[in-house]
Symmetry: C2
Subunit: 321 residues, 2 copies
Protein backbone atom coordinates (compact mmCIF):
# COMPACT_ATOMS: atom_id res chain seq x y z
CA UNK A 1 0.00 0.00 0.00
CA UNK A 2 1.34 3.39 -1.02
CA UNK A 3 0.22 6.74 0.35
CA UNK A 4 0.99 10.16 -1.11
CA UNK A 5 2.00 12.75 1.48
CA UNK A 6 2.87 16.43 1.19
CA UNK A 7 4.99 18.72 3.33
CA UNK A 8 3.58 22.16 4.09
CA UNK A 9 5.50 25.00 5.72
CA UNK A 10 3.89 28.09 7.21
CA UNK A 11 6.41 30.88 7.74
CA UNK A 12 5.23 33.39 10.31
CA UNK A 13 7.10 36.38 11.66
CA UNK A 14 7.82 34.59 14.95
CA UNK A 15 7.73 30.86 14.21
CA UNK A 16 7.82 28.52 11.26
CA UNK A 17 5.66 25.42 11.35
CA UNK A 18 6.31 22.55 9.00
CA UNK A 19 4.02 19.54 8.81
CA UNK A 20 2.97 16.47 6.89
CA UNK A 21 -0.45 16.56 5.21
CA UNK A 22 -2.46 13.53 4.08
CA UNK A 23 -4.40 13.45 0.78
CA UNK A 24 -7.67 14.23 2.60
CA UNK A 25 -6.25 17.29 4.36
CA UNK A 26 -5.30 15.85 7.73
CA UNK A 27 -2.17 17.26 9.40
CA UNK A 28 -0.36 14.10 10.53
CA UNK A 29 2.53 15.63 12.44
CA UNK A 30 4.37 18.96 12.72
CA UNK A 31 7.67 20.54 13.73
CA UNK A 32 7.97 24.14 14.91
CA UNK A 33 11.06 26.34 15.01
CA UNK A 34 11.88 30.01 15.37
CA UNK A 35 11.76 32.27 12.32
CA UNK A 36 12.89 35.44 14.06
CA UNK A 37 16.06 33.86 15.52
CA UNK A 38 17.65 33.71 12.05
CA UNK A 39 18.61 36.70 9.95
CA UNK A 40 20.92 34.60 7.78
CA UNK A 41 18.87 32.85 5.08
CA UNK A 42 21.33 29.94 4.58
CA UNK A 43 21.20 29.11 8.28
CA UNK A 44 17.42 29.37 8.35
CA UNK A 45 17.24 27.01 5.35
CA UNK A 46 19.47 24.51 7.19
CA UNK A 47 17.08 24.51 10.14
CA UNK A 48 14.03 24.21 7.89
CA UNK A 49 15.60 21.24 6.10
CA UNK A 50 16.28 19.53 9.45
CA UNK A 51 12.70 20.14 10.56
CA UNK A 52 11.40 18.75 7.27
CA UNK A 53 13.52 15.60 7.64
CA UNK A 54 12.30 15.19 11.23
CA UNK A 55 8.66 15.56 10.19
CA UNK A 56 9.09 13.05 7.36
CA UNK A 57 10.73 10.58 9.71
CA UNK A 58 7.97 10.99 12.27
CA UNK A 59 5.28 10.45 9.63
CA UNK A 60 7.06 7.32 8.41
CA UNK A 61 7.16 5.95 11.96
CA UNK A 62 3.46 6.74 12.51
CA UNK A 63 2.42 5.03 9.30
CA UNK A 64 4.45 1.91 9.99
CA UNK A 65 4.64 -0.34 6.98
CA UNK A 66 2.86 1.94 4.49
CA UNK A 67 4.99 2.95 1.54
CA UNK A 68 5.15 6.75 1.36
CA UNK A 69 5.37 8.75 -1.84
CA UNK A 70 6.45 12.33 -1.07
CA UNK A 71 4.76 14.88 -3.37
CA UNK A 72 7.03 17.68 -2.27
CA UNK A 73 7.16 20.77 -0.08
CA UNK A 74 4.79 23.74 -0.36
CA UNK A 75 5.75 26.91 1.46
CA UNK A 76 3.50 29.82 2.44
CA UNK A 77 5.39 32.98 3.34
CA UNK A 78 4.70 36.69 3.66
CA UNK A 79 5.70 38.33 0.34
CA UNK A 80 6.33 34.92 -1.20
CA UNK A 81 6.53 35.14 -5.00
CA UNK A 82 5.34 31.98 -6.75
CA UNK A 83 7.04 32.93 -10.03
CA UNK A 84 10.50 33.55 -8.58
CA UNK A 85 10.30 31.10 -5.66
CA UNK A 86 11.68 33.87 -3.45
CA UNK A 87 10.56 35.85 -0.44
CA UNK A 88 10.82 39.45 -1.63
CA UNK A 89 11.26 42.47 0.66
CA UNK A 90 9.12 41.13 3.54
CA UNK A 91 8.31 43.96 5.95
CA UNK A 92 7.92 41.65 8.98
CA UNK A 93 10.72 39.09 8.57
CA UNK A 94 14.41 39.33 9.42
CA UNK A 95 15.42 38.27 5.89
CA UNK A 96 15.90 41.53 4.05
CA UNK A 97 15.90 41.91 0.27
CA UNK A 98 15.28 38.80 -1.80
CA UNK A 99 15.61 35.29 -0.32
CA UNK A 100 15.48 32.53 -2.98
CA UNK A 101 13.99 30.03 -0.56
CA UNK A 102 12.88 27.44 -3.14
CA UNK A 103 16.44 27.21 -4.50
CA UNK A 104 17.89 27.05 -0.98
CA UNK A 105 15.57 24.19 -0.06
CA UNK A 106 16.11 22.34 -3.35
CA UNK A 107 19.81 22.28 -2.48
CA UNK A 108 19.00 20.65 0.84
CA UNK A 109 16.07 18.30 0.27
CA UNK A 110 15.60 15.52 -2.27
CA UNK A 111 11.93 16.08 -3.12
CA UNK A 112 10.18 15.99 -6.51
CA UNK A 113 8.86 19.54 -6.17
CA UNK A 114 9.32 22.57 -3.92
CA UNK A 115 7.12 25.64 -4.41
CA UNK A 116 6.36 28.83 -2.55
CA UNK A 117 3.60 31.44 -2.51
CA UNK A 118 2.32 34.12 -0.20
CA UNK A 119 0.20 33.23 2.79
CA UNK A 120 -3.12 34.53 1.42
CA UNK A 121 -2.68 32.61 -1.86
CA UNK A 122 -1.87 29.54 0.20
CA UNK A 123 -5.09 30.02 2.17
CA UNK A 124 -7.06 30.24 -1.10
CA UNK A 125 -5.45 27.03 -2.35
CA UNK A 126 -6.19 25.36 0.97
CA UNK A 127 -9.84 26.41 0.83
CA UNK A 128 -10.03 25.14 -2.77
CA UNK A 129 -8.50 21.75 -2.10
CA UNK A 130 -9.46 20.98 1.50
CA UNK A 131 -12.13 23.56 2.49
CA UNK A 132 -15.44 25.15 1.49
CA UNK A 133 -14.34 26.24 -2.01
CA UNK A 134 -13.89 22.76 -3.44
CA UNK A 135 -16.59 23.19 -6.09
CA UNK A 136 -15.81 26.81 -6.96
CA UNK A 137 -13.80 27.76 -10.05
CA UNK A 138 -14.17 31.52 -9.48
CA UNK A 139 -13.86 32.78 -5.93
CA UNK A 140 -11.89 35.15 -3.74
CA UNK A 141 -10.38 34.28 -0.38
CA UNK A 142 -10.06 37.19 2.04
CA UNK A 143 -7.80 36.73 5.07
CA UNK A 144 -8.29 39.18 7.91
CA UNK A 145 -5.42 39.46 10.38
CA UNK A 146 -2.95 42.24 11.12
CA UNK A 147 -3.62 43.22 7.51
CA UNK A 148 -6.02 42.07 4.81
CA UNK A 149 -4.71 39.51 2.33
CA UNK A 150 -6.39 37.78 -0.58
CA UNK A 151 -6.07 34.94 -3.03
CA UNK A 152 -8.11 35.02 -6.24
CA UNK A 153 -9.29 32.11 -8.36
CA UNK A 154 -10.31 32.67 -11.99
CA UNK A 155 -11.18 29.80 -14.33
CA UNK A 156 -10.15 27.30 -11.65
CA UNK A 157 -6.63 28.79 -11.42
CA UNK A 158 -4.99 30.93 -8.76
CA UNK A 159 -4.22 34.35 -10.22
CA UNK A 160 -0.56 35.32 -9.81
CA UNK A 161 -0.53 38.11 -12.38
CA UNK A 162 2.42 39.47 -14.29
CA UNK A 163 4.51 40.27 -11.21
CA UNK A 164 3.54 37.23 -9.12
CA UNK A 165 1.85 39.45 -6.53
CA UNK A 166 -1.77 39.63 -7.72
CA UNK A 167 -4.45 39.89 -5.04
CA UNK A 168 -3.04 42.65 -2.86
CA UNK A 169 -6.58 43.79 -2.11
CA UNK A 170 -5.67 45.12 1.32
CA UNK A 171 -3.88 48.02 -0.35
CA UNK A 172 -6.79 49.14 -2.52
CA UNK A 173 -7.88 52.70 -1.82
CA UNK A 174 -11.39 52.74 -0.40
CA UNK A 175 -11.41 56.21 1.17
CA UNK A 176 -9.56 58.91 -0.82
CA UNK A 177 -7.42 60.87 1.65
CA UNK A 178 -8.54 58.49 4.38
CA UNK A 179 -6.53 56.86 7.16
CA UNK A 180 -2.75 56.98 6.92
CA UNK A 181 -1.18 53.69 5.76
CA UNK A 182 2.43 52.77 5.25
CA UNK A 183 4.07 53.52 1.86
CA UNK A 184 2.89 57.19 1.95
CA UNK A 185 -0.54 55.98 0.93
CA UNK A 186 -3.91 56.76 2.48
CA UNK A 187 -7.33 55.18 2.90
CA UNK A 188 -6.50 51.61 1.94
CA UNK A 189 -8.87 48.76 2.73
CA UNK A 190 -6.75 46.99 5.35
CA UNK A 191 -6.65 50.09 7.51
CA UNK A 192 -10.39 49.69 7.95
CA UNK A 193 -10.99 45.95 7.58
CA UNK A 194 -8.48 43.91 9.60
CA UNK A 195 -7.66 43.40 13.28
CA UNK A 196 -5.63 46.62 13.11
CA UNK A 197 -8.49 48.41 11.34
CA UNK A 198 -10.98 47.31 13.98
CA UNK A 199 -8.78 48.87 16.68
CA UNK A 200 -8.49 52.11 14.71
CA UNK A 201 -12.25 52.20 14.16
CA UNK A 202 -12.82 51.62 17.88
CA UNK A 203 -10.87 54.79 18.62
CA UNK A 204 -12.78 56.63 15.91
CA UNK A 205 -16.08 55.53 17.47
CA UNK A 206 -14.87 56.71 20.89
CA UNK A 207 -14.19 60.08 19.23
CA UNK A 208 -17.48 60.18 17.29
CA UNK A 209 -19.87 58.98 19.95
CA UNK A 210 -18.07 59.97 23.14
CA UNK A 211 -19.29 58.38 26.37
CA UNK A 212 -18.02 55.20 27.95
CA UNK A 213 -17.29 51.71 26.70
CA UNK A 214 -16.94 48.28 28.29
CA UNK A 215 -13.20 48.44 27.58
CA UNK A 216 -12.55 51.65 29.58
CA UNK A 217 -10.56 49.71 32.20
CA UNK A 218 -8.02 48.47 29.62
CA UNK A 219 -4.87 50.24 28.51
CA UNK A 220 -4.70 51.31 24.89
CA UNK A 221 -1.89 48.80 24.34
CA UNK A 222 -3.96 45.97 25.78
CA UNK A 223 -7.06 46.39 23.64
CA UNK A 224 -7.27 43.84 20.83
CA UNK A 225 -9.71 43.34 17.97
CA UNK A 226 -10.90 40.24 19.79
CA UNK A 227 -11.68 42.30 22.92
CA UNK A 228 -13.74 44.65 20.79
CA UNK A 229 -15.56 41.78 19.04
CA UNK A 230 -16.31 40.12 22.39
CA UNK A 231 -17.53 43.41 23.88
CA UNK A 232 -19.74 43.93 20.82
CA UNK A 233 -21.27 40.49 21.20
CA UNK A 234 -21.92 41.34 24.87
CA UNK A 235 -23.74 44.51 23.76
CA UNK A 236 -21.22 47.32 24.35
CA UNK A 237 -22.50 50.17 22.14
CA UNK A 238 -19.12 51.57 21.04
CA UNK A 239 -17.92 48.08 20.16
CA UNK A 240 -21.14 47.25 18.29
CA UNK A 241 -20.73 50.47 16.30
CA UNK A 242 -17.12 49.45 15.57
CA UNK A 243 -18.00 46.00 14.23
CA UNK A 244 -20.93 47.43 12.28
CA UNK A 245 -18.71 50.06 10.63
CA UNK A 246 -16.06 47.43 9.85
CA UNK A 247 -18.64 45.13 8.26
CA UNK A 248 -20.17 47.90 6.18
CA UNK A 249 -16.77 49.04 4.92
CA UNK A 250 -15.89 45.45 4.02
CA UNK A 251 -19.23 44.80 2.32
CA UNK A 252 -18.99 47.95 0.22
CA UNK A 253 -15.41 47.14 -0.77
CA UNK A 254 -16.28 43.55 -1.73
CA UNK A 255 -19.13 44.89 -3.89
CA UNK A 256 -16.54 46.86 -5.87
CA UNK A 257 -14.00 44.02 -5.96
CA UNK A 258 -16.67 41.60 -7.20
CA UNK A 259 -16.97 43.71 -10.36
CA UNK A 260 -13.43 42.85 -11.40
CA UNK A 261 -13.45 39.04 -11.61
CA UNK A 262 -17.11 38.25 -10.83
CA UNK A 263 -16.50 35.50 -8.25
CA UNK A 264 -19.27 33.10 -7.22
CA UNK A 265 -18.30 33.57 -3.57
CA UNK A 266 -16.03 35.33 -1.12
CA UNK A 267 -14.55 33.15 1.61
CA UNK A 268 -13.55 35.02 4.76
CA UNK A 269 -10.85 33.73 7.06
CA UNK A 270 -9.01 34.96 10.13
CA UNK A 271 -9.44 36.11 13.71
CA UNK A 272 -12.00 38.87 13.12
CA UNK A 273 -14.23 36.49 11.15
CA UNK A 274 -14.67 34.41 14.31
CA UNK A 275 -16.77 37.29 15.67
CA UNK A 276 -19.51 35.82 13.45
CA UNK A 277 -22.76 37.61 12.66
CA UNK A 278 -21.88 40.82 14.47
CA UNK A 279 -19.34 41.36 11.67
CA UNK A 280 -20.85 39.29 8.85
CA UNK A 281 -24.41 40.62 8.99
CA UNK A 282 -23.45 44.25 8.25
CA UNK A 283 -20.93 42.94 5.70
CA UNK A 284 -23.58 41.01 3.77
CA UNK A 285 -26.10 43.84 4.04
CA UNK A 286 -23.73 46.50 2.70
CA UNK A 287 -22.48 44.09 0.04
CA UNK A 288 -25.95 43.49 -1.42
CA UNK A 289 -26.82 47.18 -1.10
CA UNK A 290 -23.83 48.26 -3.18
CA UNK A 291 -23.92 45.56 -5.87
CA UNK A 292 -25.14 46.54 -9.33
CA UNK A 293 -28.49 44.96 -10.34
CA UNK A 294 -27.03 42.21 -12.59
CA UNK A 295 -24.89 41.02 -9.64
CA UNK A 296 -27.43 41.25 -6.82
CA UNK A 297 -28.29 38.00 -5.05
CA UNK A 298 -25.74 35.94 -6.98
CA UNK A 299 -22.60 36.06 -4.81
CA UNK A 300 -22.20 34.37 -1.43
CA UNK A 301 -20.12 35.60 1.48
CA UNK A 302 -19.05 32.47 3.36
CA UNK A 303 -16.91 31.73 6.40
CA UNK A 304 -13.85 29.62 5.64
CA UNK A 305 -14.15 25.93 6.48
CA UNK A 306 -10.44 25.52 7.17
CA UNK A 307 -9.51 24.74 10.79
CA UNK A 308 -8.05 28.08 12.03
CA UNK A 309 -4.89 26.55 13.48
CA UNK A 310 -4.04 24.49 10.41
CA UNK A 311 -5.20 26.70 7.53
CA UNK A 312 -1.81 28.17 6.63
CA UNK A 313 -0.10 24.79 6.73
CA UNK A 314 -2.85 23.10 4.70
CA UNK A 315 -2.73 25.95 2.22
CA UNK A 316 1.02 25.64 1.80
CA UNK A 317 0.67 21.89 1.21
CA UNK A 318 -2.17 22.60 -1.27
CA UNK A 319 0.36 24.39 -3.48
CA UNK A 320 1.38 20.94 -4.71
CA UNK A 321 -2.21 19.68 -4.98
CA UNK B 1 -5.78 28.89 -52.27
CA UNK B 2 -8.02 29.06 -49.20
CA UNK B 3 -8.48 32.07 -46.90
CA UNK B 4 -10.10 32.03 -43.46
CA UNK B 5 -12.48 34.95 -42.86
CA UNK B 6 -14.52 35.97 -39.84
CA UNK B 7 -17.70 37.98 -39.49
CA UNK B 8 -17.79 40.59 -36.74
CA UNK B 9 -20.90 42.48 -35.62
CA UNK B 10 -20.82 45.62 -33.49
CA UNK B 11 -24.22 46.35 -31.97
CA UNK B 12 -24.57 49.99 -30.97
CA UNK B 13 -27.61 51.74 -29.57
CA UNK B 14 -28.30 53.46 -32.88
CA UNK B 15 -26.76 51.27 -35.60
CA UNK B 16 -25.39 47.78 -36.03
CA UNK B 17 -22.35 47.28 -38.21
CA UNK B 18 -21.44 43.86 -39.51
CA UNK B 19 -18.25 43.23 -41.45
CA UNK B 20 -15.80 40.71 -42.80
CA UNK B 21 -12.36 40.56 -41.15
CA UNK B 22 -9.22 39.04 -42.66
CA UNK B 23 -6.73 36.96 -40.62
CA UNK B 24 -4.42 39.97 -40.24
CA UNK B 25 -7.17 42.23 -38.91
CA UNK B 26 -8.24 44.08 -42.02
CA UNK B 27 -11.92 44.94 -42.36
CA UNK B 28 -12.67 43.88 -45.92
CA UNK B 29 -16.26 45.10 -46.26
CA UNK B 30 -19.15 46.11 -44.01
CA UNK B 31 -22.93 46.46 -43.91
CA UNK B 32 -24.73 48.88 -41.59
CA UNK B 33 -28.36 48.81 -40.45
CA UNK B 34 -30.48 50.40 -37.74
CA UNK B 35 -30.54 48.86 -34.27
CA UNK B 36 -33.04 51.27 -32.76
CA UNK B 37 -35.66 50.69 -35.48
CA UNK B 38 -36.36 47.17 -34.15
CA UNK B 39 -37.86 46.35 -30.77
CA UNK B 40 -38.77 42.83 -31.88
CA UNK B 41 -35.71 40.58 -31.53
CA UNK B 42 -36.83 38.04 -34.17
CA UNK B 43 -37.20 40.79 -36.75
CA UNK B 44 -33.83 42.31 -35.80
CA UNK B 45 -32.21 38.88 -36.18
CA UNK B 46 -33.75 38.53 -39.65
CA UNK B 47 -32.19 41.84 -40.70
CA UNK B 48 -28.83 40.93 -39.16
CA UNK B 49 -28.82 37.60 -41.02
CA UNK B 50 -29.54 39.40 -44.30
CA UNK B 51 -26.71 41.87 -43.64
CA UNK B 52 -24.36 38.99 -42.81
CA UNK B 53 -25.24 37.19 -46.06
CA UNK B 54 -24.74 40.43 -48.00
CA UNK B 55 -21.33 41.02 -46.41
CA UNK B 56 -20.24 37.43 -47.12
CA UNK B 57 -21.36 37.75 -50.74
CA UNK B 58 -19.51 41.03 -51.14
CA UNK B 59 -16.32 39.57 -49.66
CA UNK B 60 -16.57 36.57 -51.99
CA UNK B 61 -16.90 38.89 -54.98
CA UNK B 62 -13.94 41.00 -53.86
CA UNK B 63 -11.72 37.97 -53.38
CA UNK B 64 -12.60 36.49 -56.77
CA UNK B 65 -11.35 32.94 -57.12
CA UNK B 66 -10.02 32.48 -53.56
CA UNK B 67 -11.72 29.71 -51.65
CA UNK B 68 -13.18 31.16 -48.44
CA UNK B 69 -13.43 29.28 -45.18
CA UNK B 70 -15.84 31.06 -42.81
CA UNK B 71 -14.75 30.84 -39.17
CA UNK B 72 -18.04 32.16 -37.87
CA UNK B 73 -19.71 35.26 -36.47
CA UNK B 74 -18.54 37.15 -33.39
CA UNK B 75 -20.93 39.67 -31.89
CA UNK B 76 -20.09 42.54 -29.52
CA UNK B 77 -23.13 43.98 -27.75
CA UNK B 78 -23.89 46.07 -24.69
CA UNK B 79 -24.69 43.67 -21.81
CA UNK B 80 -23.76 40.71 -23.98
CA UNK B 81 -23.22 37.57 -21.88
CA UNK B 82 -20.65 35.18 -23.34
CA UNK B 83 -21.85 32.25 -21.21
CA UNK B 84 -25.53 32.49 -22.16
CA UNK B 85 -25.08 33.94 -25.66
CA UNK B 86 -27.77 36.46 -24.79
CA UNK B 87 -28.09 40.23 -24.47
CA UNK B 88 -29.36 40.68 -20.92
CA UNK B 89 -31.29 43.73 -19.71
CA UNK B 90 -29.45 46.29 -21.84
CA UNK B 91 -30.23 49.81 -20.58
CA UNK B 92 -29.67 51.47 -23.96
CA UNK B 93 -31.22 49.04 -26.45
CA UNK B 94 -34.85 48.55 -27.44
CA UNK B 95 -34.67 44.80 -26.73
CA UNK B 96 -35.89 44.48 -23.17
CA UNK B 97 -35.25 41.53 -20.91
CA UNK B 98 -33.16 38.69 -22.30
CA UNK B 99 -32.52 38.30 -26.05
CA UNK B 100 -30.87 34.93 -26.92
CA UNK B 101 -29.12 36.42 -29.95
CA UNK B 102 -26.67 33.56 -30.54
CA UNK B 103 -29.54 31.06 -30.75
CA UNK B 104 -31.53 33.41 -32.99
CA UNK B 105 -28.58 33.76 -35.38
CA UNK B 106 -27.75 30.04 -35.33
CA UNK B 107 -31.27 29.42 -36.58
CA UNK B 108 -30.65 31.79 -39.49
CA UNK B 109 -27.02 31.33 -40.54
CA UNK B 110 -25.07 28.20 -41.44
CA UNK B 111 -21.75 29.04 -39.77
CA UNK B 112 -19.42 26.78 -37.72
CA UNK B 113 -19.56 29.08 -34.69
CA UNK B 114 -21.51 32.08 -33.44
CA UNK B 115 -20.51 33.78 -30.19
CA UNK B 116 -21.33 36.97 -28.33
CA UNK B 117 -19.74 39.09 -25.63
CA UNK B 118 -20.03 42.62 -24.34
CA UNK B 119 -18.37 45.47 -26.19
CA UNK B 120 -15.54 46.08 -23.72
CA UNK B 121 -14.59 42.38 -23.69
CA UNK B 122 -14.64 42.49 -27.49
CA UNK B 123 -12.29 45.47 -27.44
CA UNK B 124 -9.89 43.55 -25.16
CA UNK B 125 -9.96 40.56 -27.49
CA UNK B 126 -9.38 42.87 -30.45
CA UNK B 127 -6.40 44.48 -28.75
CA UNK B 128 -5.04 41.03 -27.90
CA UNK B 129 -5.34 39.58 -31.39
CA UNK B 130 -4.94 42.59 -33.68
CA UNK B 131 -3.64 45.48 -31.52
CA UNK B 132 -1.00 46.48 -28.99
CA UNK B 133 -1.65 43.66 -26.51
CA UNK B 134 -0.52 40.81 -28.75
CA UNK B 135 2.32 39.74 -26.47
CA UNK B 136 0.50 40.28 -23.18
CA UNK B 137 -1.02 37.43 -21.22
CA UNK B 138 -2.14 39.64 -18.29
CA UNK B 139 -3.61 43.01 -19.16
CA UNK B 140 -6.69 45.16 -18.72
CA UNK B 141 -8.46 47.04 -21.48
CA UNK B 142 -10.27 50.19 -20.39
CA UNK B 143 -12.79 51.72 -22.80
CA UNK B 144 -13.79 55.30 -22.12
CA UNK B 145 -17.01 56.47 -23.75
CA UNK B 146 -20.40 57.40 -22.33
CA UNK B 147 -19.41 55.06 -19.52
CA UNK B 148 -16.25 53.16 -18.58
CA UNK B 149 -16.03 49.55 -19.71
CA UNK B 150 -13.31 46.97 -19.30
CA UNK B 151 -12.07 43.62 -20.45
CA UNK B 152 -9.59 41.68 -18.32
CA UNK B 153 -7.04 39.10 -19.40
CA UNK B 154 -5.56 36.69 -16.85
CA UNK B 155 -3.27 33.80 -17.84
CA UNK B 156 -3.88 34.60 -21.51
CA UNK B 157 -7.65 34.19 -21.13
CA UNK B 158 -10.45 36.74 -21.07
CA UNK B 159 -12.07 36.72 -17.62
CA UNK B 160 -15.84 36.19 -17.78
CA UNK B 161 -16.33 35.23 -14.15
CA UNK B 162 -19.10 33.19 -12.62
CA UNK B 163 -21.92 35.34 -13.99
CA UNK B 164 -20.40 36.10 -17.39
CA UNK B 165 -20.17 39.81 -16.55
CA UNK B 166 -16.68 40.19 -15.04
CA UNK B 167 -14.89 43.47 -15.66
CA UNK B 168 -17.60 45.97 -14.76
CA UNK B 169 -14.93 48.34 -13.47
CA UNK B 170 -16.94 51.45 -14.34
CA UNK B 171 -19.25 50.67 -11.43
CA UNK B 172 -16.55 50.36 -8.78
CA UNK B 173 -16.96 52.86 -5.95
CA UNK B 174 -14.06 55.32 -5.93
CA UNK B 175 -15.60 58.10 -3.84
CA UNK B 176 -17.82 56.94 -0.95
CA UNK B 177 -20.98 59.09 -1.04
CA UNK B 178 -19.67 60.73 -4.20
CA UNK B 179 -21.50 61.63 -7.40
CA UNK B 180 -24.94 60.14 -7.97
CA UNK B 181 -24.96 57.21 -10.42
CA UNK B 182 -27.84 55.13 -11.67
CA UNK B 183 -28.91 52.04 -9.63
CA UNK B 184 -29.15 54.13 -6.39
CA UNK B 185 -25.37 53.97 -6.15
CA UNK B 186 -22.89 56.80 -5.62
CA UNK B 187 -19.30 57.66 -6.44
CA UNK B 188 -18.60 55.04 -9.08
CA UNK B 189 -15.59 55.32 -11.37
CA UNK B 190 -17.44 55.99 -14.62
CA UNK B 191 -19.08 59.08 -13.19
CA UNK B 192 -15.59 60.59 -12.98
CA UNK B 193 -13.66 58.88 -15.76
CA UNK B 194 -15.64 58.82 -19.02
CA UNK B 195 -16.96 61.36 -21.50
CA UNK B 196 -19.91 61.88 -19.17
CA UNK B 197 -17.59 62.19 -16.17
CA UNK B 198 -15.46 64.80 -17.94
CA UNK B 199 -18.58 66.94 -18.48
CA UNK B 200 -19.59 66.60 -14.83
CA UNK B 201 -16.07 67.49 -13.70
CA UNK B 202 -16.10 70.54 -15.97
CA UNK B 203 -19.16 71.83 -14.12
CA UNK B 204 -17.51 71.04 -10.79
CA UNK B 205 -14.43 73.01 -11.83
CA UNK B 206 -16.65 75.94 -12.85
CA UNK B 207 -18.11 75.77 -9.35
CA UNK B 208 -14.75 75.34 -7.58
CA UNK B 209 -12.68 77.88 -9.45
CA UNK B 210 -15.34 80.35 -10.65
CA UNK B 211 -14.31 82.78 -13.37
CA UNK B 212 -14.69 82.29 -17.09
CA UNK B 213 -13.85 79.47 -19.50
CA UNK B 214 -13.31 79.22 -23.23
CA UNK B 215 -16.62 77.37 -23.50
CA UNK B 216 -18.75 80.17 -22.01
CA UNK B 217 -20.45 80.82 -25.37
CA UNK B 218 -21.78 77.26 -25.61
CA UNK B 219 -25.06 75.99 -24.22
CA UNK B 220 -24.84 73.37 -21.51
CA UNK B 221 -26.41 70.87 -23.88
CA UNK B 222 -23.82 71.58 -26.56
CA UNK B 223 -20.70 71.07 -24.47
CA UNK B 224 -19.04 67.71 -25.11
CA UNK B 225 -16.05 65.97 -23.54
CA UNK B 226 -14.22 66.60 -26.82
CA UNK B 227 -14.89 70.35 -26.57
CA UNK B 228 -13.40 70.30 -23.07
CA UNK B 229 -10.37 68.27 -24.18
CA UNK B 230 -9.79 70.62 -27.14
CA UNK B 231 -10.13 73.69 -24.92
CA UNK B 232 -7.68 72.14 -22.44
CA UNK B 233 -5.14 71.51 -25.19
CA UNK B 234 -5.60 75.18 -26.24
CA UNK B 235 -4.83 76.24 -22.66
CA UNK B 236 -8.24 77.05 -21.13
CA UNK B 237 -7.63 76.88 -17.37
CA UNK B 238 -10.99 75.37 -16.33
CA UNK B 239 -10.66 72.73 -19.04
CA UNK B 240 -7.05 71.96 -18.09
CA UNK B 241 -8.16 71.51 -14.48
CA UNK B 242 -10.94 69.22 -15.69
CA UNK B 243 -8.66 66.94 -17.70
CA UNK B 244 -6.08 66.94 -14.91
CA UNK B 245 -8.69 65.92 -12.32
CA UNK B 246 -10.02 63.21 -14.66
CA UNK B 247 -6.53 61.81 -15.22
CA UNK B 248 -5.68 61.81 -11.53
CA UNK B 249 -8.93 60.05 -10.64
CA UNK B 250 -8.28 57.45 -13.35
CA UNK B 251 -4.66 56.93 -12.32
CA UNK B 252 -5.55 56.45 -8.66
CA UNK B 253 -8.34 54.02 -9.57
CA UNK B 254 -6.08 51.99 -11.87
CA UNK B 255 -3.50 51.77 -9.06
CA UNK B 256 -6.16 50.05 -6.94
CA UNK B 257 -7.45 47.87 -9.76
CA UNK B 258 -3.89 46.74 -10.59
CA UNK B 259 -3.72 45.11 -7.13
CA UNK B 260 -6.45 42.63 -8.05
CA UNK B 261 -5.04 40.84 -11.10
CA UNK B 262 -1.57 42.43 -11.41
CA UNK B 263 -1.68 43.20 -15.15
CA UNK B 264 1.50 44.00 -17.10
CA UNK B 265 -0.32 46.88 -18.79
CA UNK B 266 -3.52 48.88 -19.05
CA UNK B 267 -4.66 49.69 -22.59
CA UNK B 268 -6.87 52.74 -22.86
CA UNK B 269 -9.36 53.16 -25.68
CA UNK B 270 -12.10 55.60 -26.63
CA UNK B 271 -12.85 59.24 -27.42
CA UNK B 272 -11.37 60.84 -24.29
CA UNK B 273 -8.08 58.96 -24.81
CA UNK B 274 -7.57 60.85 -28.07
CA UNK B 275 -6.98 63.96 -25.94
CA UNK B 276 -3.52 62.45 -25.45
CA UNK B 277 -1.02 63.70 -22.89
CA UNK B 278 -3.33 66.28 -21.34
CA UNK B 279 -5.25 63.28 -19.97
CA UNK B 280 -2.56 60.58 -19.92
CA UNK B 281 0.18 62.51 -18.15
CA UNK B 282 -1.82 63.13 -14.95
CA UNK B 283 -3.14 59.55 -15.25
CA UNK B 284 0.35 58.03 -15.31
CA UNK B 285 1.60 60.38 -12.59
CA UNK B 286 -1.23 59.58 -10.17
CA UNK B 287 -0.98 55.88 -11.05
CA UNK B 288 2.71 55.63 -10.09
CA UNK B 289 2.13 57.79 -7.01
CA UNK B 290 -0.54 55.47 -5.65
CA UNK B 291 1.04 52.10 -6.48
CA UNK B 292 2.52 50.09 -3.63
CA UNK B 293 6.34 49.74 -3.74
CA UNK B 294 6.44 46.19 -5.17
CA UNK B 295 4.31 47.36 -8.11
CA UNK B 296 5.97 50.71 -8.86
CA UNK B 297 7.53 51.10 -12.31
CA UNK B 298 6.33 47.70 -13.54
CA UNK B 299 2.98 48.45 -15.21
CA UNK B 300 2.51 50.39 -18.43
CA UNK B 301 -0.43 52.60 -19.34
CA UNK B 302 -0.68 52.45 -23.13
CA UNK B 303 -3.00 53.90 -25.74
CA UNK B 304 -4.87 51.28 -27.75
CA UNK B 305 -3.45 50.52 -31.19
CA UNK B 306 -6.84 49.59 -32.65
CA UNK B 307 -8.16 51.93 -35.35
CA UNK B 308 -10.92 53.88 -33.52
CA UNK B 309 -13.58 53.32 -36.19
CA UNK B 310 -12.99 49.57 -36.48
CA UNK B 311 -12.12 48.53 -32.94
CA UNK B 312 -15.55 47.22 -31.96
CA UNK B 313 -15.91 45.25 -35.17
CA UNK B 314 -12.40 43.80 -34.95
CA UNK B 315 -13.00 42.92 -31.33
CA UNK B 316 -16.22 41.11 -32.14
CA UNK B 317 -14.46 39.14 -34.88
CA UNK B 318 -11.60 38.39 -32.44
CA UNK B 319 -14.10 36.42 -30.30
CA UNK B 320 -13.53 33.56 -32.74
CA UNK B 321 -9.75 34.05 -32.89
Amino acid sequence: MSIKLTLGADIGGTNTRIGVVSPDGEVICTETFSTSAYSEAELYADVMAQAAEAAMLQAAEMLGDAEIEWAGLGIGAPNGNFHSGAIEEPPNLNFKGITPLVALMEARLDLPRIALTNDANAAALGEHIYGAAQNFSDFIMITLGTGLGSGIFVNNQLVYGSNGFAGELGHMTVVPNGRYCGFNRRGSLENYCSATGIRRTFFEMLAQHGGTSALDHKTIAEITAKDIADAAIAGDAISVATMDFTGRMLGEALASIALVTSPAAFFLFGGPVQAGDILLEPTRLAFEQHLIPTYKGTIQIVESALPPGEAALLGAAALLG
